[in-house]
């Protein structure tokens, strides 16, 4: 199925087979999706707004029922065990943590408390403390703000906090839903490096992005989702080189001509 280059056994990592997801009685959002995230890989998901990317993350992290959705058919396996129907708590404990779309930090808790909530399922205080330091090292901006109400942080700072919070659980699989949204280029780059670093540290990453350039540049493998089905998949490098994909998902610089036309129209 997956034409990936890593040839390990597919019972490792995350394996999604033939997954169909529905909201309420009638709205089918994902149709027979097959996805695989192998250990120590970064897998990117691309797709226009409303394609079903967030829905996929919800299916993986057990949050579907919170939104009135359910898995109609298919299976999701994590390290060989089916995790369909498990509650989010069990899934977090099994080593999957996530950064929700739209940051969702706890506005009226301090930055520090937000991180504490992130590590709430863990008991080892020393490990948590180290983890927290590691996160503050990664995002020094957060350290400066550690006793501030998180709601007052700037958009970008909140995004850093959301990522930091998810990392508190020392996950084996990190699900990131649009982590680069609203971040400065240097921070995006930082997060890109962080993702690469996380992978090196042994965690696999399921990365959902609008910034395809960023996503594909760090990912090992990529999927294109459209109207709830996978329309294309392949190693990230191949996708990055694919002209169709470039025109649909990659950065603005492709469209130079038109904008210039409009802009020059203004001055003309």
């Amino acid at each position: 199925m997956t034409g990936g280059e890593t040839g390990s056994q597919s019972s490792e990592g995350l394996v999604v087979r033939d997954l169909t997801v529905r909201y309420g009685p009638a709205i089918t959002v994902l149709r027979s999706i097959d996805v695989e995230v192998r250990p120590r890989t970064v897998v990117a998901f691309l797709g226009v707004n409303g394609a079903g990317k967030t829905t996929l993350t919800r299916a993986v992290t057990g949050m579907l029922s919170f939104h009135g959705g359910s898995v109609i058919s298919g299976d999701i396996r994590w390290k060989g065990r089916s995790i369909v129907g498990l509650n989010p708590r069990r899934i977090v404990r099994a080593g999957i943590s996530q950064v929700l779309e739209g940051r969702r930090i706890f506005a009226e808790l301090t930055v520090d408390q937000n991180l504490s909530v992130g590590g709430i399922t863990k008991r080892n205080d020393n490990a948590l403390k180290e983890r927290r330091d590691w996160i503050y090292d990664m995002f020094p901006r957060l350290r400066e703000r550690q006793n501030q109400m998180a709601g007052y942080l700037s958009g970008g700072e909140q995004q850093m906090l959301a990522i930091g919070r998810a990392l508190m659980q020392s996950p084996e699989l990190l699900v990131l839903d649009e982590p680069s949204l609203g971040l400065a280029p240097s921070i995006v780059e930082h997060i890109r490096d962080t993702i690469a670093g996380i992978r090196e540290a042994g965690t696999s990453v399921l990365l959902i992005e609008q910034n395809a350039t960023m996503a594909l540049s760090v990912a090992d493998y990529g999927y294109i989702l459209s109207h709830g089905t996978v329309t294309k998949e392949g190693p990230a490098k191949e996708l990055l080189a694919d002209p169709h994909i470039q025109s649909f998902y990659l950065g603005l610089d492709e469209d130079t001509g038109e904008l210039d036309a409009v802009k020059h129209g203004a001055t003309a």
């Binding site: 989010p88 977090v92 929700l100 969702r104 909530v117 992130g118 709430i120 998180a150 709601g151 007052y152």
Partner: protein, 296 residues
């Protein structure tokens, strides 16, 4: 002087009852964001089940009281699970009314079992009085004050220092995000209701003692008396509930003696509300509340 000290003592114990009743609201509001009108029902259940276990079954009073508190905690948690959880994060209004519906259902059940007359709960304090110098205070009031202080201290520590306290706050702020961190919103909600149930039950028992108003229908109304206290103290602050309770209790008692005639009939009944408004004008979030964080 003695007179004033005496009034002060009365105000403090009244304030503690307010505080206990207010705390129940505060816990649920803090953890689930729901404004729980059913709190009054817990008061009723706590009082009647203690009566049942003590006077009818014959258990010792303290055993009966503890069992009732546990029982009401359970009832509250079940209520949350069955009726409230689904609407808890809908909006502000729906849960208020669901809990109002629950409140309506409770007294009829009680009066079906125990009738509508006055009953005697049979508490051990009776009318015993402790005298400290010139000031007298009933044992029942001492019990109220001591328990309230303990409860509040425990809560303060709980919210500040425990994982669960943090989990509760997080869930209240954003249930989905908390869930995503592995915090079970169901557990947190149920637990907070159970605590509120226990507090309500305790308040009910104290109200039903001979030194209170006695055990009879209409006990649920008393929980509403705590509403201005909650706002005055800050709706999410356990400490606020206590300080607010004390302020209202003490000032109300003094108003009875020193102000009532000049301010017309029923003045002491509006005193809590006037105090609340006065505080609101200066601090819209209440004495110990935190300002809602908003930015764009």
């Amino acid at each position: 002087m003695t007179e004033n000290l005496q009034i002060l003592a009365g105000g403090i114990s009244l304030g503690c009852v307010f505080a206990l009743l207010a705390l129940g609201f505060v816990i649920v509001s803090k953890a689930t964001g729901v404004f729980n009108l059913a709190q009054g029902g817990f008061v009723v259940w706590g009082a009647y089940s203690t009566y049942f276990l003590h006077q009818q079954v014959g258990l010792p009073f303290y055993v009966a009281a503890v069992l009732s508190i546990l029982f009401v905690a359970l009832v509250a948690a079940v209520m949350e699970a069955v009726a409230v959880h689904k609407v808890a994060s809908k909006n502000l209004y729906t849960p208020i009314l669901v809990t109002f519906g629950l409140l309506m259902m409770m007294p009829p059940v009680v009066s079906a079992f125990w009738g509508t007359g006055q009953l005697t709960i049979g508490d051990p304090w009776g009318l015993k009085v402790i005298r400290i110098g010139e000031v007298a205070i009933t044992e029942r009031n001492v019990a109220v004050i001591v328990v309230t202080l303990i409860v509040v201290a425990v809560f303060g520590l709980f919210f500040r220092y425990t994982r669960l306290g943090l989990a509760m706050q997080a869930t209240a702020l954003d249930p989905e995000a908390a869930l995503a961190q592995g915090v079970s919103d169901k557990l947190v909600h149920r637990l907070s209701w159970a605590i509120a149930g226990a507090l309500g039950a305790f308040g009910g028992i104290m109200l039903a003692t001979a030194g209170g108003v006695g055990l009879g229908p209409g006990l649920e109304e008393y929980a509403l008396l705590a509403l201005p206290v909650i706002i005055l103290g800050g709706i999410e602050s356990p400490l606020g509930a206590v300080v607010g309770g004390l302020i209202v209790g003490i000032i109300q008692q003094f108003a009875v003696v020193y102000a009532a005639e000049d301010f017309g009939v029923g003045f002491e009944e509006v005193v809590p509300y006037l105090l609340m408004i006065a505080v609101m004008l200066v601090r819209p979030q209440g004495l110990f509340g935190t300002r809602k964080v908003r930015r764009i």
